[in-house]
């Protein structure tokens, strides 16, 4: 369960202050796939950063499994992200000069997973995105769709409970984009993992269990979440 309570984030100071997030509240039950939709500059990426503890809003709480990650020490937040969260970005952020194996193993190294367990996990993750045969291939030699599948493998290798995807299909054509989407939804279903997709693609948003629309830093509408959580948003 992820509980978002009264998140408020401003950029700039005093007269130049810009309210990026204005008192955002909602709950996400475990295993839900949820889309955060909105125009660029609406604050949806800022919301994702706050939810993942990358950013620290001035006000509000992000309570994951009963713990407010915004009041944790930086080291604890890092450890939390390493063990429970993962990310997929629009522009992949894979290391082109490294092999697929070295790209995928990175989260395991960061989370200090024992060496003996790594190979099996990397192979399982690559097989989940159908890149098993590319394990020794340099990431630079992959096509765009394969690169994003590699990023998905890297995101799921340590079996996170929460998966953030920031415009995961933004740089892909619709066919390859749908393949990547299916891998994400498959993982969420199989592991009961929460999938949070930030997108302005309505087709992708429609595939999620719930949709939250952000306009100018405020929640404009929520679909698919229970009434109790809706009440908090108002």
């Amino acid at each position: 369960m992820i509980e978002i309570k009264g998140i408020t984030k401003t950029y700039g100071k005093k007269q130049n202050a810009f309210l990026a997030l204005d008192n955002i509240s909602f709950d996400i039950p475990d295993g839900t796939t949820i889309a955060i939709i909105g125009k660029s500059g609406s604050g949806k990426s800022t919301l994702m950063h706050a939810m993942s503890g990358l950013d620290r809003p001035e006000l509000g709480e992000v309570i994951i499994d009963g713990e407010n990650i915004l009041t944790l020490k930086q080291r604890k937040v890092d450890a939390f992200r390493a063990s429970k969260m993962s990310f997929i970005f629009q522009s992949f952020f894979i290391q082109p000069n490294e092999t697929c194996y070295d790209n995928v193993v990175l989260p395991l190294e960061i989370a200090e997973v024992p060496r003996a367990d790594r190979r099996a996990k990397v192979e399982a993750a690559l097989s989940a995105v159908e890149l098993t045969d590319k394990i020794r291939v340099k990431a630079a030699n992959l096509s765009g769709g394969q690169k994003q599948r590699l990023a998905v493998a890297r995101a799921i290798v340590n079996e996170p409970k929460i998966l953030f995807a920031d415009e995961p299909t933004g740089n892909l054509d619709s066919v390859t984009g749908e393949v990547v989407e299916s891998f994400l939804f498959d993982y969420s279903k199989k592991r009961q993992a929460t999938l949070i997709v930030v997108t302005h693609d309505p087709d992708l948003a429609a595939k999620c269990d719930a949709q939250i629309e952000i306009v100018d830093g405020k929640i404009a509408s929520i679909k698919g979440l229970t009434q109790s959580t809706l009440g908090k948003a108002e």
């Binding site: 950063h49 993942s52 990358l54 950013d55 930086q74 080291r75 890092d78 450890a79 939390f80 992200r81 390493a82 063990s83 969260m85 993962s86 990310f87 970005f89 629009q90 522009s91 952020f93 290391q95 000069n97 490294e98 070295d102 990175l106 989260p107 190294e109 960061i110 989370a111 200090e112």
Partner: protein
């Protein structure tokens, strides 16, 4: 992130920028090369002088002379002061008389005092050969000699002589071994002969006991023939008796009963107005020169390292800028700022290790190849002037790794403080 994983990742990042890594390490390599070579030269040089001094002097022996006059005032005449003769550079040098020798012999710990007779002789010859200019020295059992033929065990008998290889061949012996057991004559003139009489001269006959070979260590054996101390005295007495310089010596060698007492005896001698040099003093003087030279070389090496530090800082900064997104991603995936900083410090450590290995390695290879050539050029036999100690090389490399890590601190700090959100913003 575990340290082993961080080190591996750091190494991998460097491999992806091979040219840059290599060039940065080469800058350190120049420093490592210079430092390693000068350390090897220092070791070799000190070992070499140590061996020379050990082979030519005895730790139980002190070389003693009267202390040089520091005042230029004219001395009042005393019977002893008449003994001054001109020194090699025109100054007055006081000499050691037989009375002085008796005095020195009384010092506790002194076993014997032998004046340096160094008799001036006319020539050396063998039957049927021309006459050649000769220099004689006194044989000392404590000085190591290399022999081309024959050998001397213990003391040299009074009628025996040790030739040098050069004298042996000049005197017509085809092989050094041919000279053994043959007779050579040394001719000396009596200086006190009156003007009226014909100058009298005498041949002293010796049997060749051994021929000393050229050695990288022995300096005396290369120029002088060696005879026993008694025989030196005989010739000296014949040449100088009746002259004003008879019984007055520039140098005397004092033999102490125990090597540990050499220092004490030296102190006493200096109190009595003598200059005394022990083997350790001789070694110290030579080593001072070597150390100064190597200090200068080491200085250049450290200067090169200092320059390369700025190279490392620069490349590491560029590397941080280039990999902003990678750093952002690693932080998003939960890598702590400390670990990110560590990653860049280890990269700097790798650069330092590479530079040290390249520099020290090439110094070792070039030094090992050049050693025989240097020895040949300096004509010092099979002695190596460059001695590489594995421990020294290891310390140089470890030192450079630490220096590189130090240079990497600033860029690493920049990386560790990078804001992941800013780093991941691509638009």
């Amino acid at each position: 992130m575990k340290i082993a994983d961080t080190i591996r990742r750091a190494g991998r990042s460097l491999r992806q920028a091979k040219a840059r890594t290599l060039l940065t390490s080469l800058a350190i390599g120049v420093g490592a090369f210079t430092i390693t070579l000068s350390l090897a030269g220092g070791q070799g040089g000190r070992d070499y002088t140590d061996a020379i001094v050990k082979a030519n002097t005895d730790v139980k022996e002190l070389s003693v002379a009267k202390k040089a006059q520091t005042s230029t005032a004219i001395q009042e005449y005393t019977t002893n002061a008449t003994s001054t003769t001109s020194g090699p550079f025109g100054g007055k040098v006081e000499t050691i008389s037989n009375a002085d020798i008796a005095d020195i012999e009384k010092i506790a710990g002194v076993e014997s005092v032998t004046p340096n007779y160094a008799p001036a002789v006319n020539y050396v010859t063998t039957p049927g050969q021309k006459k050649y200019v000769a220099t004689l020295s006194t044989y000392s059992p404590s000085v190591t000699l290399d022999y081309a033929a024959g050998s001397v065990n213990g003391a040299l008998a009074d009628n025996e002589i040790v030739l040098t290889q050069d004298y042996a061949s000049t005197l017509g012996f085809a092989q050094p071994a041919d000279a053994i057991g043959k007779t050579v004559m040394i001719n000396a003139t009596k200086l006190s002969t009156s003007f009226a009489a014909m100058p009298s001269a005498q041949d002293f006959t010796f049997t060749v006991k051994a021929v000393s070979s050229k050695s990288g260590l022995a300096f005396r054996s290369q120029s002088s023939m060696l005879i026993s101390s008694n025989e030196s005295k005989t010739i000296y007495t014949y040449v100088n008796e009746g002259t004003s310089v008879y019984g007055k010596f520039l140098l005397a060698s004092v033999r102490v009963s125990d090597a540990n007492k050499a220092g004490d005896v030296k102190t006493i001698l200096e109190g009595k107005g003598y200059d005394a040099q022990t083997a350790a003093d001789v070694l110290g003087t030579i080593n001072t020169f070597i150390n100064v030279l190597l200090g200068i070389l080491l200085g250049f090496g450290f200067l090169a390292v200092l320059t390369s530090i700025f190279g490392i800082i620069n490349t590491q900064y560029i590397s941080v800028l280039e990999r902003t997104q990678q750093i952002g991603l690693m932080k998003a995936l939960g890598m702590s700022g400390r670990d990110v900083g560590r990653l860049f410090k280890y990269e700097a450590a790798w650069v330092g290790f590479l530079g040290g290995a390249i520099g020290s390695g090439s110094a070792f290879v070039i030094g090992t190849v050049a050693n025989p050539l240097i020895s040949k050029a300096l004509d010092i036999g099979d002695i190596s002037l460059l001695k590489f100690a594995p421990l020294q090389i290891a310390i140089v490399i470890i030192g450079l790794i630490l220096i590189s890590v130090g240079a990497g601190i600033l860029p690493a700090r920049k990386a560790s403080r990078l804001d992941p959100i800013e780093a991941l913003r691509t638009e």
